[in-house]
Symmetry: C2
Subunit: 104 residues, 2 copies
Amino acid sequence: MQNLFARPVEQNAGEHLEALLVRRGFTLERILSSGHASPPGFWYDQDRDEWVALLAGDAELLFEEGAERVLLRAGDHLLIPAHKRHRVERTSSDAVWLTLHFAP
Amino acid sequence: MQNLFARPVEQNAGEHLEALLVRRGFTLERILSSGHASPPGFWYDQDRDEWVALLAGDAELLFEEGAERVLLRAGDHLLIPAHKRHRVERTSSDAVWLTLHFAP
């Protein structure tokens, strides 16, 4: 049985990404972050809508529009429309994300 | 901000189902179970594949084929192919499910 909260024995700093389901129309991924932040000046600008849930830990997203900061705690989830530019400002060392990318 | 672990103030016994995303090709749902079990003799027999994750609590599924029992703890997830008959044998009072149904 696979577990969403399981962490690999050795995990480097940064992000560990795992595709759980890749189907026509959507991709479901699990991401383990360990104190990760997007590189300075980097913005995600995605062609697909993204539903994102933080399953464990806490994190902060920054949206370019209005310089909006969004703090997430374990369980928080939101929809990020395609081309809504955003970045990960910080994550705790125990952050687990679940993301679903799909055509808008 | 919506939270996957949040529970309504008053929750009846049984199941509380909430559609998070309904798109062409898939449906993402959150289900709060509180000591719920499928009715006696009832089997789910679904037209679509289902990815199911237990985010909190614990639960037991029963698959008709081989009378296979599957115990789930928080974080466990699995794929249930379409028409694989199964039922929920029991859930703890604090169970939170996340399910993704999609065309096979």
